[in-house]
Symmetry: C2
Subunit: 254 residues, 2 copies
DNA sequence: TAGTGGTCTAGACCACCCG
DNA sequence: GGGTGGTCTAGACCACTAA
């Protein structure tokens, strides 16, 4: 996309948003194309359901290569704004399913990132077989050796999150001797075992007596819960529930 | 990346995972490269902190173009596994910050996607100025004309989520006459106004009397809340809180 | 079956930034 | 300053699928 000597329509649109462009310093062609397409969608030039010109046509209009147009459109498609299919062309999604990307950091970084001092303490640690509920969740055998941990994550010496974790010793037997005074179970596992996938869920529960006691809140208070199953090679390696203190929220931008 | 006539090491690794490859039918070069790099990370060939070979070297090893290697590595970087910087090279992240991508669909699609019948009812609709709390959230003036809506989303005639929404009539004046019997407020806004960005947050609250009554649950039960501010052109257009019925969870895979 | 987007290449130039 | 990744191109072939 040449910055000068360009079609009238594009010049106008670029000019309208020049103040924005000046600040964001987006000089890349694919970003300019993406912004321009986004702008046309937002202003209704291409309303929901509209069939966009082909990549080749857009490449001609913007005077850039098809690959560059493709990158821009694929980005918008990844954000849920466009629906692209071979032969069918590219359309503006009727109901743009926005996808929110949440970062799930290590607890230490989450807390230190807020400027607080991180500290963790292991409250309870036992080696045992899984409870029936845990067994069902992880689909492991009844006699599978596991470590059950309860820990507390502190921010500035205030309870921040209560952790209830099961670790599968069949997959990571060395965890039985892991020293968790320096690093947390999560950090140990990240550094000492692979990682291939898992599931995350968020939900909300009323605090039980155990959570209330450890988090220093009333029983029954609504707690935000992050639940995660981590697998390596399709074998469940750990199952963890993180009960955040009341008022915790996770947020992101669209 | 040629499938045959390839270095011994790669052949071996491909062979080890052949059963997986057979099922996933990933024939693209960039996917093969990505899988291979992922595999080397997971098996510790490239442990956390390790500096990877340059794109050019990897392109030579995999016998493909640098652009293809670049795509594979950039994908992994986007997933938080790699840290890439010019001149600095590509490293395996020490603490892989996993990013979970959550889809935030329109309520109708969320419910119909579960095979249930969707129905929505507007419980209350009034035109008024914002409360101080809403004003602070949206940073609008005190005399900004708004519509305050309370609605209930039903799945198979059971309460599914309770919605508390404010719409900024300064930005979308036509909303004042919107007919919300056929489509929901969200759908109306998606189709009748642009969209440029917003913030989403998830948290958890105890059900108040209003939520309990409408969702048919006890007061004090822990509810999962999705809160969203949507903007067009940096002007707040709507602010919505969705209180899901007890037990609701959102989940995703890593 | 024809037309669209998906992928890949070889090469080029450039911006960034570590040493 | 030099080496890395970031971007871009022109062209090619291919996979999918709507008409």
């Amino acid at each position: 996309m040449r910055k000068h000597n360009i079609k009238m329509k594009v010049v106008n649109l670029e000019f309208q948003r020049y103040s924005i462009r000046m600040t964001t310093t987006s000089l890349n062609t694919w970003q300019l194309v993406q912004d321009e397409v986004l702008h046309r969608i937002q202003t209704g030039v291409w309303s929901p359901g509209t069939l966009l010109p082909t990549e080749k046509e857009l490449a001609q209009e913007f005077e850039c290569s098809r690959a560059t147009v493709s990158r821009a459109l694929n980005n918008l498609s990844g954000e849920g704004l466009l629906d692209r299919r071979r032969k069918g062309g590219t359309r503006v999604n009727l109901n743009p399913v926005r996808r929110a990307t949440l970062a799930i950091p290590v607890m230490r970084e989450e807390i230190e990132g807020k400027g607080s001092v991180y500290r963790a303490m292991v409250l309870e640690r036992e080696q045992r077989n899984p409870t029936p509920a845990v067994r069902a969740f992880l689909s492991v055998e009844a006699d599978c050796p596991m470590v059950h941990l309860r820990s507390l994550h502190m921010a500035d010496n205030q309870p921040y999150a209560f952790e209830d974790r099961w670790v599968n010793l069949q997959v990571v037997p060395k965890f039985a001797e892991a020293d968790l005074t320096e690093i947390s179970a999560n950090e140990w596992l990240v550094q000492n075992s692979g990682f291939s996938g898992g599931d995350v869920a968020f939900y909300s529960v009323n605090a039980g007596s155990q959570e209330a006691e450890n988090l220093g809140c009333r029983e029954g208070e609504a707690l935000f819960v992050l639940e995660r199953i981590t697998r390596v090679n399709n074998k469940p390696i750990t199952f963890v529930r993180l009960f955040y203190r009341p008022g915790h929220r996770i947020s992101t931008s669209l």
